[in-house]
């Protein structure tokens, strides 16, 4: 099975070679065999006695991340859709995309997507699923941005990526939590631990994270906004990714996890509510669109919402209807996208306001569209599959397991949404194919598409009719297994056209009746869109977020990245100061012991007092010579202290270094501008004073406490003992420096050497510049 998943990716590696031949043979012809063979591979599993199959290939077993392919009814349904529609789309694309396009890239992305999508539906391992999930987002991004010279394509690609990857990461978070809670990375094993998950205090979080992933991917309200912009992709891509497969990944995820989450009341409420809102909003908005593909995009959103809602209901009838509709939607929506592509291809426009009366020019296309739209509108005819699943949907809304207010309202909302579905379906068909001809507005003279282009939609429409006429041929060997994978309690029952004059049928008739009225009078009530959504636009919200992200982050960053050393130092110091003090306070760090202190002598105190005065004087002095003088006083004071405290070596060093430093300072003072009086405001001075005094105090307090915490013998005793015996020297400090800690000294010299090189570099640079 791993072969079936990875074969598109492997073939994709050879595409760049094949695309060299594209002048002679369209690259798509080679590609066509890939989905076709995968489709045939999966077809063999169809049958009444189908049992789930599992194939495991190790990847990172130590982290529990393995290619655990699990083929059950649900994944089989999706795998067949992916490969089947995939084959039709590739076939269609051969005629849709001319050889002048960058065919190589197109098919590489498309095959990458095929692998990714198959991986999503076949993986039982959550992290492998996530890997493929992100790969679908990435390939979708690349396909939307295929014509990246168009501004709108870039915009749409970025938008879809940000929203779907946002959801993907959220889902990833949910997966990690599931892993933490259950200790397994396999979905099937998680299903066995339903109780553990449902009892976990993390349940709301897990649910939230995973639903967010599903909703963004399946374009549920309010994350649906990326889908209309994704229509910038070439039409075969829209038909494939953005209608039949990728956008159903979210539905797949919900279906997969519903046997875990359906035990939670929140699952029903959130998923049903979001689904039903999406259904209504999508179909309501579709009527308003003028671009054929935009109508289909909103229609897709609405249909996805409907399936989502059914998965949320969770009842056996609803789950079966959802599965049934996933299949039906793929057939009629796929064909309609292809029809839209044909119209675009043959007339040069997709703007419905410019189109009309095309039935005489494109009779075959029109026929295909007729079946597609009427099936979508769920017109009660026995050869339209859309009607069956719609009626099952209505039926499901009437038999919910819940008595909440939401459950009461759902049937009404379902009817409301379906009315608009009917309206836009009619609008699509009649707007394009009937009415006045406006040939002068068309960029091209319209004529019927080549047969190759019609082939794929014909196959799909055949599916619509076939399933419509014999709904039960796909039922037992196929849909039942899929539905049982979602909810094991689903039992076989025959789908029939006529159930008697029951409530669902009445609902359908209401939909049609009101739908016809609204369709005929649509010009009169179209003003309603100026009220809702009116100026309310989720797109604007997205644009604002993206734009504000730049603006606000710029403002924030500029506010503190001032480039001023003083600001940087102040913040670094103040943070260190405050946090250290807090920690000292919390841990009761400050201690003061009077034992072991050396005595105080007048000499030392006088030196210290002089040094303090000199140090403070550096702040107030405004004369260069005076500054050098006081600094020298401090430096030599340090040296005197070293003498007093029995440190002859460092005293000597300090004297030498101090003298050299003073010389360097003199040079520096000579060349740099003279010292000036500080011009800081009193407030700044106070802040500086506070920080510096605070820091000094912190260091003093830590020093005193450290000195008072005399808990251990120093390792120095060893140095005293062994200095002569092992080191061969009487001067212990010297022995430490050159022997015991010789490495320090070696690299201390290295530091000096590097400093010298750096200085030479700086001077050479000046010379070179001077020479120029």
């Amino acid at each position: 099975m791993i072969f079936a998943v990875l074969i598109p990716l492997i073939i994709a590696c050879f595409i760049p070679l094949l695309s060299k031949l594209k002048e002679k043979i369209h690259t798509g012809i080679f590609v066509l065999f890939v989905p076709l063979s995968i489709f045939l591979y999966f077809v063999q599993f169809l049958g009444r006695d189908f049992n789930p199959i599992r194939h495991t290939y190790n990847w990172i077993p130590s982290l529990g991340i393995n290619f655990d392919f699990y083929l059950d009814g649900l994944s089989l349904l999706f795998a067949l859709l992916i490969s089947g529609i995939g084959a039709l789309v590739v076939l269609y694309s051969i005629f849709y995309l001319s050889k002048q396009e960058r065919l190589g890239s197109f098919y590489v992305y498309l095959l990458m997507f095929m692998t990714a999508m198959l991986g999503v539906v076949l993986s039982d391992n959550i992290f492998v699923l996530y890997t493929f999930w992100e790969l679908t987002s990435i390939s979708s991004f690349l396909l939307i941005g295929y014509w990246h010279f168009k501004e709108r394509s870039r915009y749409g690609a970025l938008k879809s990526m940000l929203i779907t990857i946002f959801g993907g990461l959220s889902m990833f978070g949910g997966f990690i939590l599931l892993w933490v809670v259950t200790g397994t990375t396999s979905i099937q094993e998680m299903i066995n631990q339903v109780d553990v998950i449902l009892d976990s205090s993390y349940l709301p979080l897990i649910l939230g994270f995973i639903l967010l992933g599903a909703f963004t991917k399946s374009a549920q309200f309010p994350f649906h906004i990326w889908l209309p912009d994704a229509m910038e992709a070439p039409t075969p891509v829209s038909a494939y990714l953005h209608s039949a497969t990728m956008v159903k990944a979210g539905l797949f995820l919900i279906a997969r996890f519903s046997s875990i989450f359906s035990g939670s009341e929140w699952f029903f409420i959130v998923v049903s509510l979001v689904g039903i809102i999406t259904l209504c909003w999508g179909s309501y908005m579709a009527v308003r669109q003028t671009d054929l593909k935009a109508i289909l995009a909103f229609s897709t959103i609405s249909q996805l919402g409907m399936i989502m809602a059914m998965l949320g209901f969770g009842t056996t009838a609803a789950v079966f209807a959802a599965i049934f509709h996933i299949l039906n939607h793929a057939t009629f929506k796929g064909s309609l996208f292809m029809v839209a592509g044909i119209i675009d291809h043959e007339t040069g426009t997709r703007d419905i306001r410019k189109l009309g009366g095309l039935i005489t020019f494109l009779p075959i296309t029109a026929t295909l569209a007729l079946f597609g739209t009427f099936s979508m509108a769920a017109v009660p005819l026995p050869f339209l599959n859309g009607f069956y699943s719609k009626e099952l949907f209505f039926d499901a809304t009437l038999h919910l397991d819940s008595t909440t207010f939401l459950a009461q309202a759902i049937p009404y909302l379902a009817v409301f949404g379906s009315i608009f579905t009917f309206v836009y379906s009619m609008y699509f068909f009649f707007g394009v194919f009937t009415g006045p001809k406006q040939l002068d507005k068309l960029p091209k003279k319209p004529h019927e598409a080549p047969i190759g282009m019609l082939l794929s939609p014909i196959v799909l429409v055949a599916g619509v009719i076939l399933i419509g006429l014999f709904p039960n041929i796909v039922n037992a060997p196929f849909l039942l297994h899929a539905a049982q994978a979602v909810n094991p309690e689903v039992e076989f029952h025959k789908v029939a056209f006529w159930h008697g004059f029951n409530t669902p049928l009445k609902m359908s008739l209401i939909v049609i009746a009101i739908g016809i009225i609204l369709f005929v009078t649509r010009k009169k009530w179209s003003k309603v869109y100026t009220i809702l959504p009116g100026k309310l636009s989720l797109n604007k919200v997205y644009d604002q977020i993206v734009e504000k992200l730049d603006v606000i982050s710029g403002a924030i960053t500029r506010s503190y990245m001032t480039g001023s050393l003083k600001n940087y130092m102040s913040i670094i110091l103040a943070t260190t100061l405050i946090v250290s003090f807090v920690f000292m306070f919390i841990t009761n760090g400050f201690t003061l012991e009077y034992d072991y202190l050396a005595d105080v002598t007048i000499l030392e105190v006088s030196v210290v007092i002089i040094m303090i005065i000199a140090a403070v004087a550096t702040i107030f002095t405004n004369h260069n010579i005076a500054a050098i003088l006081v600094l020298g006083v401090v430096g030599y004071g340090v040296a005197i202290l070293f003498v007093v405290y029995r440190a002859p070596d460092i005293a000597l060093t300090q004297f030498v270094i101090e003298t050299v430093t003073v010389a360097l300072f003199l040079l520096c003072f000579y060349h740099l501008p003279k010292l000036r009086k500080s011009t800081d405001s009193a407030g700044t001075k106070m802040t500086n004073l506070f920080i510096s005094v605070g820091f000094g105090a912190l260091m003093t307090m830590v020093a005193i406490s450290a000195h008072s915490s005399n808990w251990f013998e120093s390792i120095s005793d060893y140095f005293v003992e062994t200095s002569y015996k092992l080191g061969g020297g009487h001067n212990i400090v010297n022995v430490i420096l050159v022997d015991m800690r010789g490495l320090d000294t070696l690299f201390e010299i290295a530091v000096l050497g590097i400093a010298a090189l750096a200085i030479i570099g700086l001077i050479k640079l000046k010379k070179d510049k001077g020479a120029q």
């Binding site: 190790n58 990172i60 077993p61 130590s62 982290l63 991340i65 890997t131 992100e134 990435i138 010279f149 690609a157 970025l158 990526m161 940000l162 990857i165 990461l169 990690i176 933490v180 979080l205 730049d550 606000i552 982050s553 924030i556 050393l565 940087y568 130092m569 913040i571 670094i572 943070t575 946090v579 250290s580 920690f583 000292m584 841990t587 760090g589 201690t591 020093a703 406490s705 915490s709 808990w711 120093s714 390792i715 120095s716 060893y718 140095f719 062994t722 022997d739 015991m740 800690r741 010789g742 490495l743 320090d744 690299f747 290295a750 530091v751 590097i754 090189l757 750096a758 640079l765 070179d768």
Partner: protein
């Protein structure tokens, strides 16, 4: 064979000194640099193999026994980081001759380059706190040398700020070492660890620990101490940026990992809780910084900060997953940051500007460059199956397992924005009409792409081939979490 441990510091030191004499002969310098770096790389490969088969190599320098002399501890973590360092360095050595450094190479570029490696390697393997300070100074001094290299106005200005801030933190570092010495009477890290454990980190010790944390945090560029970083990192040429981005901040975070797993681990509820907050803030402010600019070099430079935040997060959670995540992420980030800096270096070179608003359509001329950047974006954001994913997975698991929900949400959102910040370069820089290129000439990227692509394969391998790496990282994490092993191996008796 314990002398093996000193090779990673001696080899680059010798190389650096040798190269000083060839300074004026740029061509010889280039070749020698490549030869030396490959030798170091091979040696570090051998060391890793040795350490993973025979265990930690302890070298008592000058044969002065622990804890009195300076001890070099080449353990599994140090050896892996040395290997990564040398890998990055080798790639830089092959990239540098084509990077258009021109005159800069004769200002002792290559000696500084090796001195930097010396300092970094030393910091990774030393087992002595004061010696760590010395190696910090070596690498800082080398970085000062590199950063002022051939500098103009802007460069000198930013170098000065960089130097001053580091000078302050160095002084704080020695003082903190002295404080610690006063309490525990030693500077040997293993013995400090042992003694701090004995008194259960009571009294002033935690405060001294926090002072050390701030010293390292300044070098590691954590919130709110990273101000020096973005601008001083973009000033130099891409090779130097890559070295800095890959190595300097990582030494800081490595020191935090060492010190706060070996020494200060007895007040976790205070110190490590602080780390988690700092980690979260670093992610947020770092990524805000990356989104705030159209300068593509700055975008990458700001991206260093959230990465350090992620690594600190693992240290903060202090679980086995968290620590393995940190180590994984550390190695991953060393590689991918150099890749990104080097890539952006090429982009700036071919586009003639670092301003994203003035770019577009580059993919028509430079498809390979574009796709390398594209993959790098996903590597950096932690999208599977690349290296960042494994690190992030472990880090977030550690955070969840220790009950830190908010930080996970911040981490996930940060990942998204990291991706956005790099994809911006791809979308606006590479996509677009051919006309957007204007009269830009197609330049040769010979010698620049291959080293970067080579390095990027390691990012991919670390992710796809995680099975070969993760078990080792996991055992390192277990080792890190049990300071006694380190203490025993150094102090023996």
């Amino acid at each position: 064979m314990s002398n093996l441990a000193v090779l990673p510091i001696i080899l680059p030191l010798v190389s650096a000194i040798t190269l000083i004499f060839f300074n004026s002969k740029v061509n010889i310098s280039r070749k020698l640099t490549q030869i030396f770096s490959v030798i170091s790389l091979l040696v570090s490969c051998y060391i890793v193999w040795k350490v993973f088969t025979d265990g930690t190599i302890i070298l008592e320098t000058g044969a002065w026994v622990a804890p009195y002399g300076i001890i070099l501890v080449m353990d599994s973590l140090a050896s892996l980081l040395i290997l990564t360092t040398n890998l990055v360095a080798t790639v830089c050595a092959f990239y540098a001759p084509h990077a258009g450094l021109e005159k800069k190479e004769s200002y002792y570029f290559y000696p500084f380059f090796f001195f930097l490696i010396t300092g970094v390697s030393g910091a990774f393997i030393t087992g002595d706190l004061f010696n760590l300070f010395v190696f910090f100074e070596v690498l800082l001094m080398a970085s000062y040398g590199l950063i002022v290299l051939g500098g103009g106005k802007v460069q000198l200005r930013e170098s000065l700020k960089y130097l001053l801030i580091n000078l302050f933190s160095s002084m704080l570092f020695v003082t903190a070492i002295a404080f610690l010495y006063a309490v525990v009477g030693t500077v040997n890290m293993a013995q400090i660890g042992e003694r701090v454990q004995e008194v259960e980190q009571q009294g002033i010790l935690t405060t001294i620990g926090i002072l050390l944390f701030f010293v390292f945090a300044t070098k590691a560029a954590l919130f709110p101490l990273y101000y020096w970083l973005p601008k001083s990192y973009i000033v130099p040429n891409p090779v130097i940026s890559a070295l800095f981005g890959a190595l300097l901040t990582k030494v800081g975070i490595y020191s935090i990992l060492r010190v706060f797993s070996l020494i200060f681990v007895y007040k976790l509820e205070l110190t490590h809780e602080l780390f988690i907050w700092v980690a979260g803030l670093s992610m947020v402010f770092g990524i805000i910084g990356a989104l705030s600019t159209n300068n593509i070099k700055l975008i990458i430079a700001y991206n260093i900060i959230p990465a350090i935040g992620f690594i600190l997060l693992g240290i903060g959670t202090f679980t086995i997953d968290g620590i393995s995540g940190s180590i994984y992420y550390l190695i991953h980030d060393m590689i991918i940051k150099s890749v990104l800096f080097l890539l952006v270096g090429v982009i700036v070179y071919v586009a003639g500007t670092s301003d994203l608003r003035k770019m577009g359509g580059l993919i028509h001329y430079y498809p390979v460059l574009g796709w390398l950047l594209f993959i790098s974006a996903f590597v950096l954001a932690g999208i599977p199956p690349f290296s960042g994913f494994i690190g992030k997975l472990l880090l977030l698991k550690g955070a969840f397992a220790s009950g830190h929900i908010a930080i996970v949400i911040i981490g996930l959102l940060t990942s998204l924005l990291i991706l956005y910040s790099i994809m911006k370069i791809f979308i606006y820089g590479f996509w677009g009409d051919k006309q957007m290129l204007g009269n830009l000439e197609k330049k040769s990227t010979k010698g620049l792409i291959a080293p970067v692509a080579f390095l990027l394969t390691f990012s991919v391998l670390l992710g796809v081939g995680a099975e070969f790496v993760y078990p080792h990282i996991d055992s390192i994490a277990a080792y890190i979490l049990d300071p006694q092993i380190y203490i025993d191996s150094v102090l023996k008796e």
